[in-house]
């Protein structure tokens, strides 16, 4: 093989490699029911330390992605807080993840709606991307083994929480 051919092959491989890298880094198929959830640690919204979904292994967790600038997130917040107050315990919690939001705005949102469940901060949207979220809000019910059992795109309400989420929690272990 001539030097010219080697250079051409290397050039083509470099271009193909860049394309594959671009697609792999941008593409995200999203989590499906049964998939394990990402466990990358995230800083707490209140700024004190960090947490990971792995810390909640053994509990049901309703992971809720939200942002203060998102109107449906405001609309669903009271229902999530009411659900948390009613069912929180050693076996369940709601976990909020404030995504691509100003931290002060996020903290003000938590105060305004009196949210008592733990809140993490996904500043650059990296974890939202890993989950494959397509917008805000989105919620994932994660079972005690760390696998997705329900996925909801858009605002959740009392009816969804009572009829879709609660039976799974009361049904026992995932």
């Amino acid at each position: 093989m001539s030097l010219r051919s080697v250079i051409a092959v290397i050039g083509v491989l470099a271009v193909v490699g860049l394309l594959v890298f671009g697609l792999a880094s941008k593409g995200s198929s999203g989590l499906a029911v049964g998939d394990p959830v990402p466990t990358a640690p995230l800083p707490k919204l209140d700024g004190e330390g960090s947490q990971s979904l792995a810390d909640y292994r053994g509990r049901w967790v309703l992971v809720n992605f939200w942002a203060s600038w998102c109107p449906p997130c405001r609309a669903e917040a009271p229902a999530l807080e009411e659900f948390q107050r009613r069912l929180r315990g050693p076996g369940f919690t709601v976990l909020g993840i404030d995504s691509r939001d100003l931290s002060d705005d996020g903290r003000a949102f938590v105060r305004r709606y009196g949210l008592s469940y733990p809140q993490l901060r996904d500043a650059d949207g990296g974890v939202s991307h890993d989950y494959g979220t397509t917008g805000l809000p989105e919620s994932y019910l994660v079972d005690p083994r760390g696998k997705v059992r329900l996925h909801s795109v858009g605002q959740v309400d009392e009816e969804y929480l009572r009829e879709e989420v609660e039976p799974l929690l009361k049904g026992g272990k995932g």
Binding site: A67, W69, D101, D124
Partner: protein, 154 residues
Amino acid sequence: MTARALAIAGLALALLAPAAVGAERASLTEIEKQVMCPVCGTLLQLAESPQAQRERVFIDGLIAEGKTEAEVKDALVAEYGDEVLALPPGSGFSLSAYLVPIFAFLIAAAALAVGVLRWRRAGGGGEDGPGPTEAGPSGEDSERLDADLARYDL
């Protein structure tokens, strides 16, 4: 002499200091061109989403506090991560965004230079090489053209 030099230096400082402060002063319009609206995926300058409005309020607040442009951008990175910057940072993997085009340009220029040298060595365009072909028809075409023109000769 010393007093005169001091006076000149003082005058120069008095003239340059406000200009330096002006250069440091941050402006929302300028920063909007350099940062992204992370949710919209566009320059903040072009974004009109609620999140973009909050980002503008945040920047305005920092400017009101007297922060420089660099400090405002640092604060935005602290809030949203590196992706908020329209231009990637010049370190780590992001550095490749600057280096790859330079290397690509150099390789293309080198390839062009080598190609031109080979072409010239092969005689293409050289002084000893064959000159350009004469323009216009020749041979049979020329005769036919003359005949056709003769038919229209009045």
